[in-house]
């Protein structure tokens, strides 16, 4: 019990030691915070280097012109998976854009102050972070089970459900930034609410709304879990009726990366590089346009 008191007493007589303790704590904080940030940057760098080293040699013309090869065979590309991914993401964003923008419009314009809107806003925020695999289970029960087959439509709907909350959130945020005076000016000219929304609020918030759609696109382009039970995968060329399994990049990467065949693994790495590069470019574009507070 005596020791601490004596140290405290000597400290009081020698202020230099107290200052040193504070300085050490401060130094420690600075160093550890910098190290934490550096680790984050290193991880991103390491992921990119890994993808480039392992994926770049797979970038041949055949990658974009040939469908995925059978197990154990040589050659082939991932053209069917690229096309399938484009179609699935396209379906997803085509469904999600009108729904998301309209729902965001309701929250920002019609539902201001209403309890229902507050509830929907809250649940939308929760849906934003909901486990995507549960959305896969939902769409499986809703579409794959009754239709009796995996389908591109089910995959597209699953992706749409993931994209909607992102678009709702950005649309609402961006529309509430539009000053009310603009709306009032429109209304004073005799324009009905829908005209004010379409020609004044939407126009003023258009850059933000488009950014939300790009962010949603970046989010669903790499989603794998919800596609596992809905679009699954397919080694043949894409068929336009979208019934049955549809080849897509994320599930292809998942299956090929864990396969024992070196050719498949190579294709998985090439696909991984392609998809990550696309998503990072999309996110950078989106983030350069607006402030990054919508990523939550």
């Amino acid at each position: 019990m005596n020791a601490p008191t004596t140290i405290a007493q000597t400290d009081r007589h020698r202020p230099g030691r107290v200052r040193q303790g504070r300085r050490v704590a401060d130094r420690l904080l600075r160093v550890s915070c910098t190290v934490a940030t550096a680790v984050g940057g290193l991880v991103l760098g390491s992921i990119l280097i890994m993808l480039i080293i392992r994926g770049i040699q797979g970038f041949t013309p055949a990658l974009f012109t040939h469908p995925t090869p059978g197990p154990g065979s040589e050659g082939g590309g991932i053209a069917n998976a690229i096309l399938g991914s484009l179609v699935l993401t396209g379906i997803g964003i085509t469904i999600a854009t009108p729904v998301g923008v309209m729902a965001g419009t309701y929250l920002a314009e019609y539902g201001r102050g209403s309890k229902l809107a507050a509830l929907i806003r809250f649940l939308n925020d929760i849906l934003l972070s909901a486990p995507s695999i549960l959305i896969g289970l939902f769409v499986y029960t809703l579409m794959v089970r009754p239709m009796g087959t995996y389908s591109g439509w089910a995959g597209g709907v699953a992706l749409a459900i993931i994209a909607v909350p992102v678009i709702v959130r950005t649309t609402e945020d961006m529309m509430s930034l539009v000053p009310s005076t603009l709306r009032e000016a429109g209304a004073a000219l005799g324009a009905p609410p829908s005209t004010v929304i379409v020609s004044v609020t939407w126009r003023a918030a258009s850059a933000g709304i488009v950014t939300g759609i790009i962010l949603a696109l970046a989010r669903i382009a790499g989603e794998t879990a919800p596609l596992l039970f809905t679009a699954l995968n397919n080694n043949s060329w894409f068929s336009p009726d979208l019934m049955g399994g549809v080849a897509n990049l994320p599930v292809m990467i998942y299956q090929f990366a864990l396969s024992p065949y070196p050719n498949w693994q190579g294709l998985a790495w090439a696909g991984a590089l392609l998809i990550t590069a696309t998503i990072l470019v999309l996110s950078i574009i989106a983030r350069l346009v607006i402030k990054p507070h919508t990523s939550r």
Binding site: S32, G41, L123, A130, L137, F138, I253, L280
Partner: protein
């Protein structure tokens, strides 16, 4: 003069088609559409809960409360229990928080207090891009890059040191040092939730009035003291909300975990041993499952739904309250 302007005005009204206001019904239609779209969000959430409850119900009826406490997962004898997956989920998410929270707070403090102005934007962008990397890429990085290094430089040396010791000897002993396991999953999850927690924490720290910070520096506080006594108490509630949000993500993360958790149905006291999480088990088995196994997987989905949604609701309540104030 006035006659001239009048003619011009007249001319204009004649040449330009008069824009008609949309009819009343169109206006109502627009309103109904936006109302319907908003209700759809509500319906989807209800649909998710409804569909997995419906799918999981037979398993709950068959095993009752024992489903939660049983560690069996045997397709042959049709005995299913959630215990291993639930423990794996909670343990990996807990480890993710243990590692991820200090790192995210460190990054938030670095970005708001220490970083020179010119570097702030690129550094923040780098951290946020970590959130954009697809989860399957984290899985591949974890399995092919991180796990071998982890096995060689952490698992094997640590196992050798702790072997035979009480408590740590079981907790940190790897029977097969393969690099995959609960701790690896926790580390990968930590990396994945860091950008989310860091970005919210940074926003919260930015919102604290500069005067508070400056007056603390003004009386001679060091950065550590400013952070510890001024910033953290101010932002505490919302930072806890951000952490809960990260927890919600970690609990439901699927693909990355499926790659690195080892997918074994085994209760083990060691965090180096492979295990399963709810999401990884669903991802692994769902496509080959039918009958009671399918119901059991859906029931696991129900448990995941309940756990994550409780966490996310708390998170949103905490982050929201501060915004309103």
């Amino acid at each position: 003069m006035s006659a001239l302007t009048e003619t011009i005005a007249l001319d204009r009204s004649r040449t330009r088609t008069v824009r008609k206001a949309p009819s009343r019904s169109l206006d109502t239609l627009f309103r109904t559409f936006s109302y319907g779209a908003a209700l759809l969000v509500l319906l989807v959430l209800a649909g998710i809960l409804g569909s997995i409850l419906y799918g999981g119900w037979p398993a709950f009826r068959e095993f009752g409360f024992g489903f939660l406490t049983s560690s069996a997962w045997n397709v042959g004898t049709e005995q299913y229990g959630a215990l291993v997956a639930v423990i794996g989920t909670v343990a990996s998410a807990f480890l993710a928080l243990l590692i991820g929270v200090p790192v995210s707070l460190g990054i938030a403090v670095f970005l708001t207090q220490l970083c020179p102005g010119w570097a702030r934007k690129p550094v923040a962008m780098t951290i946020e891009l970590l959130a954009a990397v697809p989860s399957i890429i984290y899985g591949m990085w974890g399995l092919f890059v991180f796990a071998p290094l982890f096995a060689r430089f952490i698992e094997i040396p640590v196992s050798n040191v702790v072997e035979g010791l009480p408590i740590v000897g079981t907790l940190l002993y790897a029977r097969v040092p393969s690099g995959v396991g609960v701790l690896t999953a926790g580390i990968i999850l930590a990396i994945m939730i860091v950008p989310f927690i860091a970005s919210i924490a940074r926003d919260m720290l930015d919102q604290i009035p500069t005067v508070l910070r400056e007056s603390a520096y003004g009386i001679g506080c060091t950065t550590w003291e400013v952070v510890r006594h001024v910033l953290v108490p101010q932002a505490a509630v919302s930072i806890i909300g951000a952490i809960m949000l990260g927890l919600g993500r970690a609990l439901g993360e699927t693909m990355a975990v499926t790659f690195v958790v080892g997918n074994a149905n085994r209760l083990s006291a060691s965090i180096f041993d492979p295990s399963s999480t709810i999401a990884s088990r669903i991802a692994n088995e769902f496509n080959e499952a039918d009958g009671l196994q399918l119901n059991a997987l859906m029931a696991l989905g129900c448990i995941l739904f309940v756990i994550t949604f409780v966490v996310l609701i708390i998170a949103r309540l905490l982050t929201r309250r501060v915004k309103a104030a």
